[in-house]
Amino acid sequence: MSAQQNTGSANTGTPLVEMRDISISFGGIKAVDHVSIDLHPGEVVGLLGHNGAGKSTLIKCLSGAYQADAGEIFINGERAEIRNPRDARAHNIETIYQTLALADNLDAASNLFLGRELLNTWGMVDDDAMEAETRKIMGRLNPNFRKFNEPVSALSGGQRQSVAIARAVYFNAKILIMDEPTAALGPHETQMVAELIQELKRQGLGIFLIEHDIHAVMQLCDRAVVMKNGARIGTVNVDEVTDDDILGMIIMGKKPEKAY
């Protein structure tokens, strides 16, 4: 893994993730139709398209929520079988869902460690150790975070998002899937998440960003993949195109010259 991260710039070397020729249908409707995408270390790839374009469905094949009908997934050049979220985690793939997959009745530490609790020597859940670790990582990611002993239902959208991101970061995610991470956030909190993404990028993570906001895509992403009706329209390097080029791809399925 570390050798991969050191290859530095995007689009060279073995991709961190390669999804080849993925197809998935629901009751005769092709939700994803022979789509291939890839992701390199230290790169943010945006996935764009209308609602129902298939981007969320495609990425759920990587997070283990769905299984593709056809196609292959390669992690670091090796074929990977991802049948459920546990398999995805075993490949260091972490997902931050739009709907914030947190258990509202539990506190931040319980959510951060959910499914991977720290145990003491008696095999009992060690809440104090988990709270200490949570305080450490939140001190780094969101120093204003205070509510360690309250259920996350008492937190603001941004605080909840920072718990979700902390969970991914704490467990050394190499591949991060973010589904509209700023959709529910105010301007200040959106900026906080944007800075966090830059920081994760510097640490060599690969990030798939599902996003509707073109400005966020232009600001955060290196490349953008546009989907429409389950098919991939094209992929562009974000600094070679304009907002309008991308909008044209999303709305009319028009592929600019620089796309591939």
């Binding site: 459920n84 979220p85 499914g115 450490k136 239902s153």
Partner: protein, 447 residues
């Protein structure tokens, strides 16, 4: 640890209860329980005034006397044991309507084993010491297997728990009826009867030892928790607050022991027991009952279930699944297998309750545990378990069961007509949930 921890927000002017950090809902329930007890104590006391003593209303109450407290404790055990399991079922957003019927079929299996299969068919003979352990094992296994079947149907086959257990409500009691041919099973094995409350107690000396051990354990757990928090540099309650809580706990445990020790075994029974050993009872000899074994069973269940709920992964996953099933699934928790475990645990506890209920009644009859499903669900709900899932406590469910039993006992004692008894219990159930909703609203608004 060397990393800078976020500073703790300084809080000024905190109330006594905030210092103690006791759940205000727990306080509310204890308060309600105290009000119920005092009301019945005074009610029965005023009746005694007619006897000529004008101050009898202060001293003549019949509710808070050792005998009645001992009886209420014994009568509560069966429902309270099942209520702890029902907390997990309801927390995971399911329901189990079949617990009374599972109790009945477990009781039928144990009854027929003790009365017919083991002593006669297998030729062990009446009074063989192997009978009670075999019967108990079979009863617990029956309950666990039926619970696991319920859990499999709910978790893997996706049939709503309401339907699965509504079917079970009809099925299992009648399976029990079928295997016993509808006959009452008795007399039961002598060792088995030790689980029936007054039939098996520790007597005063052992009760004091058990009480002191429990107190020591509770105080040790309190201060160990405090030491752990301090080790991580977390804020802890002031030492005096910790001491006040330890004092309350010790008073409650040892007070209960003192009360059950004060309840004297009737002289007639003592004379018979001495005669059975071929001795004569010394003049003026008397002894208190002490802690019933059935109550100790409940204490152990409460302890184990609390540890599961708060200190084990199983419990953490149960609460996470109840709070957000999708989040639990995405975190890699096998929620289907979890459902099987929760229902199997419920079934095991039904088997355990069957032991206590059967031993207390001293036989197995077809109607054992009838309507227990409603009492158990009511106890869990009065104890603060939310039907929407994710919220509930073991101690709350047990307190809920005690409150219901105290109400019913008290009303029977003062002679409230039977229909009114049920009307009152129904109103209390609805009222408890309403208060809980208001409480949550207020708390949510503040957060």
């Amino acid at each position: 640890m060397t990393q800078a921890l976020p500073p703790v927000t300084p809080q000024t002017r905190r109330g006594l209860f905030e210092h103690l950090q006791i759940d205000s809902r727990l306080l509310g329930m204890v308060g309600a329980f105290a009000v119920i007890c005092l009301a019945f104590q005074l009610w029965t006391g005023f009746r005694a005034v007619g006897g000529g003593n004008p101050l009898a209303w202060l001293t003549g109450g019949r509710f808070l006397i050792p005998q009645n407290i001992f009886n209420i404790a014994n009568q509560t055990v069966s429902v309270a044991i099942m209520a702890t399991g029902m907390v997990f079922v309801i927390v995971t957003r399911h329901i189990d309507l079949s617990v009374g019927s599972i109790l009945a079929v477990c009781s039928a299996v144990m009854g027929i084993l003790q009365v017919w299969v083991l002593p006669q068919l297998m030729g062990l003979g009446i009074g063989n010491p192997a009978i009670a352990p075999i019967a108990i094992f079979a009863g617990l296994l029956t309950g666990t297997l039926i619970g696991a079947l319920n859990g499999w149907l709910v978790g893997y086959q996706r049939i709503p728990a309401f339907i699965v257990t509504l079917g079970g409500l009809l099925i299992w009691r009648n399976v029990g009826w079928y295997i016993t041919s509808g006959q009452t099973q008795g007399p039961l094995d002598a060792n088995f009867l030790l689980f029936g409350g007054a039939g098996g107690t520790l007597y005063p000396t052992a009760s004091w030892i058990a009480g002191l051990l429990a107190t020591a354990l509770a105080v040790w757990a309190l201060f160990r928790g405090r030491a752990n928090k301090a080790r991580h540099g977390f804020p802890v309650k002031p030492l005096w607050a910790e001491g006040v809580i330890a004092g309350f706990v010790a008073t409650a445990i040892l007070g209960f022991v003192a009360i059950v020790n004060a309840y004297q075994v009737p002289p007639g029974r003592l004379t018979r027991e001495f005669a059975a050993r071929g001795e004569t009872m010394p003049e003026g000899y008397s002894i208190g009952y002490g802690l019933p074994i059935s109550v100790l069973v409940l204490v152990v269940v409460a302890f184990v279930m609390t540890v599961i709920a708060r200190r084990m992964r199983l419990g953490r996953y149960i609460f996470a699944t109840g709070g957000n099933p999708d989040a639990a699934e995405l975190s890699g928790i096998n929620t289907r297998l979890l459902t099987v475990k929760v229902f199997a645990l419920m079934g095991f506890l039904c088997g355990l309750s069957a032991i206590v209920a059967q031993a207390r009644l001293q036989n197995h009859a077809n109607d054992i545990g009838t309507l227990d499903e409603l009492r158990v669900i009511a106890a869990a709900v009065i104890g603060g378990t939310a039907l929407s899932g994710g919220i509930g406590t073991i101690y709350g469910a047990i307190l809920g069961a005690v409150i219901m039993q105290a109400l019913q006992s008290g009303m029977a004692m003062v002679g409230v007509d039977s229909p009114f008894q049920n009307i009152v219990v129904g109103i209390v159930l609805a009222l408890a949930v309403w208060i809980d909703i208001q409480y949550r609203k207020r708390k949510g608004a503040r957060a």
